[in-house]
């Protein structure tokens, strides 16, 4: 298929990949370098750790992806086997099983599983509380858990003030606990810097996501990956802000100059659910046919808290990003963080809201269809997945479904997925591939 647009390599992409490796590998050297090592789930409000000093964070989800991606199928299988041997069911969260296996075996993708100084986690999806309960029991080091659940499913982005306060109180309790447990002064100035950085990183991300509405799309699914992970993992860092700014500038340049991620972009689709990490060739297969996978609500939803929700509490993509909210005090900073948490959690678990978000986004980003991944490795991302699909399909949106487990390749059936892909692409008008 002939190219319609020119393409260029995305310089920031390498930065994104490097930063990811720096953090994941850094978990192995942090303590020798005089930084403390905290471990926990990725969306724990890590900004709160900044006031205690320099640290590295081992985030569970990217750790599992690294076992899958860099460690390879053999290590992944060993990890899964180890967990099963200990009596845990195969239905449990895929990321958690791989992570537990790595922890029990004491092995990661690049060396031993590092010993942490503390375990911090946030109970939000059903798995995370129990996941790190086990981790804290395993290590026997100080641990702390906060809650990040959203407590309503009313189809809007609204949050009750007492629900927000519940999170804020837990955040300040956690800071007090850190001071007492580690007998250290806590630097609130650093906390403000970290929360302001997190805001900036997310605001740049908001702009990038808006720019992705352009035709041709300046980015595709693969190019989004290191960045959407970055804003959940280390958005509070100076380097992350600098990287996201560079990304925003580069993407702006690409849009102004019609530089495409997919040079033969003729079609655009969304992908709902995370990727099967061991089979990323699925994305190449689709891309080769001139189809840009623009992202999905899980990649995009991170942008809203830096923008103004609509009056009725529903979702509308806003442009430009509202930069007025950069926190000026640490109190504002943690408030922003709590709002962000509740929003992200709500979009995933509130079926009507996600349907609305996806409907509006699909039109605004001009996507011709939506691919839904039914992920047997994550119940949380599957809440309402069938309902969202059915509602949009009823409204005339072309959809595709495939079922697998994002980390357990034993559940992957490429011939079936390929068939589903072919008929989906055909139904949105993509010409058949000449073999």
């Amino acid at each position: 298929m002939s190219d319609l647009y020119k393409t260029e390599r995305l310089e920031a992409y390498d930065w994104g990949k490097e930063l990811r490796l720096k953090h994941l590998k850094g978990t192995g050297t942090a303590r020798d370098e005089g930084r403390f090592l905290a471990i926990g789930n990725m969306n724990f409000p890590k900004e709160l750790l900044i006031g205690l000093g320099d640290f590295e964070y081992l985030a569970g989800e990217p750790w599992s992806v690294s076992i899958n991606h860099e460690g390879g199928p053999e290590l992944t299988a060993q990890c899964l086997e180890e967990v099963e041997k200990r009596g845990y069911s195969r239905d449990l969260c895929g990321y958690m099983r791989v992570y537990w296996g790595s922890m029990f075996l004491g092995r990661g993708a690049w060396g031993p599983f590092p010993t942490p100084d503390l375990v911090t986690f946030q109970a939000d999806c059903d798995s995370r509380g129990k996941w790190y309960q086990k981790v804290s029991e395993h290590w026997g080091v100080p641990w702390y858990c906060v809650e990040g659940t959203h407590h309503s499913v009313d189809g809007t982005t609204k949050t009750k003030e007492h629900a927000l306060q519940y999170l804020l109180d837990q955040y300040t309790d956690f800071i007090e606990w850190l001071k007492v447990t580690f007998h250290k002064e806590y630097d609130y100035g650093k906390l403000l810097e970290g929360t302001a950085n997190a805001f900036r990183s997310r605001a740049y991300w908001g702009e990038v996501v808006q720019l992705q509405r352009a035709i041709p799309g300046p980015l595709d699914y693969k190019l989004l990956l290191p960045f959407y992970m970055a804003i959940e993992y280390y958005a509070y860092e100076d380097e992350c802000v600098a990287m996201m700014k560079a990304l925003r500038d580069e993407v702006k340049y690409r849009v102004e100059n019609q530089i495409a991620a997919v040079p033969n972009e003729r079609f655009r689709v969304f992908h709902e659910g995370l990727a099967p990490w061991y089979a990323l060739y699925l994305f190449t297969y689709i891309r080769q046919r001139g189809v840009n996978i623009l992202g999905g609500s899980h990649n995009y939803n991170f942008l809203l808290p830096v923008q103004k929700p609509t009056e009725d509490g529903s979702f509308a993509p806003e442009d430009p990003v509202n930069w007025d909210g950069v926190p000026k005090t640490w109190q504002e900073g943690i408030r922003f963080r709590a709002m962000h948490q509740l929003y992200v959690e709500k979009v995933i678990s509130d079926t009507r809201l996600r349907t609305n978000v996806l409907r509006v986004s699909q039109q605004a980003w001009k996507a011709q269809g939506i691919i839904f991944m039914y992920d047997r490795g994550c119940e949380f991302f599957n809440i309402g997945q069938t309902e969202v699909k059915a509602a949009l399909q009823k409204e005339g949106v072309t959809t595709m479904v495939y079922e697998t487990n994002r980390v357990d390749s034993a559940e992957w059936a490429w011939p079936q997925v390929q068939d589903a892909c072919d008929s989906f692409l055909e139904s949105i008008g993509v010409p058949q591939m000449v073999s």
Partner: protein, 373 residues
């Protein structure tokens, strides 16, 4: 003596319809035992727990993925089949994701005059949980007031609390009777009493339960002696399952299930602010695995029950794909093993494979016999 309770379980919809006709009140279905029923009862509403029909069904397949537990899919299917057509509303709280999905699908496809989702801390043991829970309980009460047009006065709440506490106290008394060997009442019969409590008017239920407690000591046909076991798990809506297990040679003498003891074990402890008292009761109740994060209270609670009721073994009744319980089973099995209490897990699906349940239970009971020898 027990027909009343069995009849309610087996004809639950007829009971609720009849109640509505008799009283002119509203009926609300709730999905999880963390919903504070007292507040609905205080507003003159009959809260009934939504249960599945245990029939092969394909009603919920297009709404809830197969990786979610059969119980939540079965509950939704009952709604889609129209079995709950008498409900005026549905309520759910933040418990497991499976039920969150069932509740949302219900409200999308079976619109009712009232539906409410109440927040509920996951970290029930956290210092901040009571304040948040009190605020959510208050919002729920206000929402019911707005819908029913009835103001909830302290007297109404007191009456509801007392009615519920009485029922809980009587159920605890019934459980005490199971400590005798052989127990004066079978596990299947107790299951009928507790399940019927989840779906009927507590005042009526308590009256019948008092009569039962009064009559039981004179019972002429008590269960015969058999291996004493405990069952542990989430929901069981089938008396037949308990019957099968007991027919295989067991006496189920105690349980730790949310359709069993977890439903009623603790009472509301009075406080000046009634809603705080109710909120606290739900935070303090024997926790579901998902709510047992900060301290592992559940493990000790199960072990203590197993000891108090002198059981020879514990049978896990595991709803397929029930992740909350899948998290706890290995830790529970290990603790019980350390305390010389053997365990075995039976997986449950919407429909039962009687032969397999019988064979596996018999194998477990044989193993327990050998252990005893």
């Amino acid at each position: 003596m027990l027909e009343y309770f069995v009849d309610i379980v087996e004809h639950r919809h007829e009971y609720a319809r009849d109640w509505k006709e008799r009283t002119g009140g509203k009926v609300i279905g709730f999905f999880c035992t963390y919903v504070p029923e007292e507040i609905m009862y205080a507003a003159g509403i009959l809260p009934v727990r939504i249960l599945g029909g245990m029939e092969p069904q394909d009603y919920s397949e297009s709404h809830i993925l197969g990786m979610y537990c059969p119980f939540c899919r079965d509950c939704l299917a009952e709604g889609l089949k129209g079995r709950y057509d008498y409900l005026d509303g549905v309520v759910q709280t933040r418990s497991c994701q499976h039920m969150l999905q069932a509740f949302q699908s219900w409200t999308i496809h079976i619109p009712l005059p009232y539906s409410y989702f109440m927040g509920m801390p996951s970290l029930v043991q956290a210092d901040r949980a009571p304040t948040f829970m009190r605020a959510e309980t208050g919002d729920f009460a206000r929402s019911l007031e707005a819908w029913t047009g009835k103001t909830l006065r302290d007297e109404d709440l007191d009456r509801a609390i007392e009615t519920y506490n009485t029922n809980r106290r009587l159920l605890r008394k019934l459980y005490e009777l199971r400590k005798a060997d052989p127990p004066i009442i079978s596990g299947t019969e107790v299951a009928a009493v507790v399940l019927s409590s989840c779906i009927s008017d507590k005042a009526e239920h308590s009256r019948k339960l008092e009569e039962l407690l009064e009559a039981l000591p004179r019972r002429s046909d008590p269960p015969s002696s058999a291996t004493r076991i405990m069952v542990v798990g989430s929901e069981n809506q089938s008396l037949e399952l308990f019957r099968l297990i007991e027919d295989a040679g067991a006496n189920i003498v105690v349980d730790e299930m949310c359709t069993g003891s977890r439903y009623f074990w603790n009472e509301v402890v009075p406080q000046e602010d009634r809603l705080s008292a109710i909120a606290q009761r739900y935070l303090d109740r024997p926790p579901c695995p998902l709510k047992d994060v900060l301290e592992r209270k559940r493990l000790e609670h199960v072990l203590n029950m197993a000891r108090d009721f002198n059981v020879a073994g514990v049978l896990f009744l595991q709803q397929k794909f029930c992740t909350p319980h899948e998290f706890d089973i290995p830790a529970l099995a290990e603790l019980l093993k350390e305390n010389a209490i053997p365990t075995y897990a039976l997986e449950l699906d919407v429909t039962m494979h009687e032969g397999s349940i019988r064979t596996r239970t018999e194998a477990f009971l044989e193993m327990l016999q050998l252990e005893l020898v």
